[in-house]
């Protein structure tokens, strides 16, 4: 597939738009159809839990588009329900068939929910419509319980505290943020909650939600009930692969299996962004990286391969950021879990830690809290660890 004339991009968020932009930047002048299940033009999701819910950013501020006319065929508010890799044809919920010479799967992920029937006052946050619904309920004095103290939960806690809500975080794991940052550094970041008067309960799984039509509390497995007017569930995400059931595409590590350039096992079918479970040579197998920067940058590699060109740029160290209580938290690199961590600037007490993760003498990951300059320098010196297999 070196000369496609019609590319179909399924997903109209950052990774989908980055794909379309990379196609045009590469000089591709064929048709590009972009299918999105939300009615909105591409918008930026990270501010949803921060400035947008806080009311300092408008819908217009969230737009990811520039004035450049990419000449795209938009199919917004239309959900893709099936893919036939053999004919590279996407079926929309309306029944419309959209064939292409190449199909790029960029359907992203959905917020994971708690089991049970829907209850008013219980939210997840993934989309603009989620954020609008949540924003209308974050009223000063209201009691907000966040289920999950990951980055989304932590950011909403910070925003809601700033709006004058009575906020509590509940985390099932004994150590907050231990997965992405490790136990020690996760605790350094999570202490921001305590410093801002937000209780964080750890090691307490949620048994269920109390309330008839509207939520009234969060029931913990130890029997406690936390009274709540509003609940936000931030317990991770699930890749949007349900529509690919029956396509024959391999689903692995929760996403569409592909190589580092996004090529799947079906010719002409590619995957980018959160939905892509791609092969990272430094890991044992495929994995999904749900970072904004990955969705922004890796589609250019996919497009290079899709157009038949060479893909030889080294992959940059994975990078993500968070913003909580006015502190910029930044992390880059590949953490396998057995690194030694040293604090090279600042202190947890002052919320300005620069922590470097090393394997032997080699820095492989770095975390910064309000240390943008030092962080940026170390980020560019990181080496890719090579996992050793027994």
């Amino acid at each position: 597939m070196t000369d496609p004339r019609r590319v179909v991009v399924v997903g109209a968020s950052l990774a989908g738009l980055a794909t379309a932009r990379a196609l045009r930047a590469a000089g591709y002048d064929g048709d590009v159809t972009v299918i999105g299940d939300e009615p909105h033009r591409p918008y930026d999701r990270p501010p949803l839990s921060k400035g947008f819910v806080a009311g300092t950013l408008s819908v217009d501020d969230l737009s990811l588009e520039t004035d450049d006319d990419l000449a795209l065929d938009w199919r917004l508010g239309e959900r893709a329900v099936a893919l036939d890799p053999g004919t590279r044809t996407v079926t929309l919920a309306s029944g419309t068939l959209v064939p292409g010479d190449a199909v790029v799967v960029a359907t992203g992920s959905h917020a994971r929910r708690l089991p049970g029937p829907p209850l008013a006052g219980v939210h997840t946050l993934r989309t603009l419509d989620d954020a609008l619904a949540l924003r209308s309920e974050l009223l000063p004095g209201a009691r907000l319980v966040l289920v999950g103290a990951g980055f989304v939960g932590a950011e909403i806690a910070s925003t809601a505290r700033g709006l004058g809500l009575d906020v509590t975080l509940v985390e099932a794991a004994p150590s907050p943020l231990a997965g992405p940052l490790g136990v020690e550094v996760g605790a350094m970041v999570a202490r921001l909650h305590d410093a801002h008067g937000v209780p964080l309960l750890t090691g307490v799984p949620v048994a269920g939600l109390a309330g008839r039509d509207r939520v009234s509390g969060v029931v913990l497995t130890d029997g406690r009930v936390l009274p709540a007017d509003v609940v936000v569930v931030g317990v991770g995400s699930v890749a949007a692969t349900d529509w690919l059931a029956g396509s024959g595409l391999t689903i692995e590590a929760g996403g569409v299996a592909c190589d580092a350039a996004g090529s799947t096992d079906a010719p002409g079918i590619w995957a980018v962004g959160d939905v892509a479970a791609w092969h990272d040579p430094s890991y044992a197998g495929r994995r999904r990286i749900e970072h904004w920067t990955d969705s922004l940058q890796r589609p250019a590699r996919t497009v290079a391969a899709l157009l038949g060109g060479p893909v030889d740029d080294p992959l940059p160290a994975p990078y993500f950021w968070s913003e909580q209580y006015g502190v910029q938290v930044q992390f880059a690199g590949r953490r396998l879990g057995d690194e030694t961590v040293t604090i090279e600037a600042g202190a947890p007490e002052t919320g300005d830690v620069l922590a470097v993760y090393r394997r032997g003498e080699t820095p492989v990951a770095v975390l910064g809290m309000n240390q943008p300059r030092l962080f940026g320098r170390i980020r560019r010196q990181l080496s890719t660890p090579v996992q050793e297999f027994a």
């Binding site: 950013l57 501020d61 520039t66 920067t293 922004l296 910029q328 943008p372 300059r373 940026g376």
Partner: protein, 116 residues
Amino acid sequence: MQHVCALADVPVGEGLRIDSVSPPIAVFRTEDDEVLAIDDTCTHQDASLADGWLEDCWVECPLHASRFDLRTGAVDAPPAKLPVRAHAVEVRDGEVWVALSDAVPHLPPGVTYEAS
């Protein structure tokens, strides 16, 4: 033109935020020892571009991925969508002088400065 700093205050390959003008600007010294100045605040969010990563005559915002051309102030890709202003620079006798652009600065939402 106005004096903003000594050339020695800006190491090669680094940027320096200048708070004596408002909104603040950033003076950069490239690897080729060229001295250039743009607005310091990223147009996307409140971040100091002087803390960013300098490569050739581009600086990458230290928080997100937008890069700004130090010669023109143009931005390469979102999340920032608007350019910063570029300011004329002269280095005389080891001192850095700047003529501020008279264009209207593009500050990020929620950030305000008194004009100097």
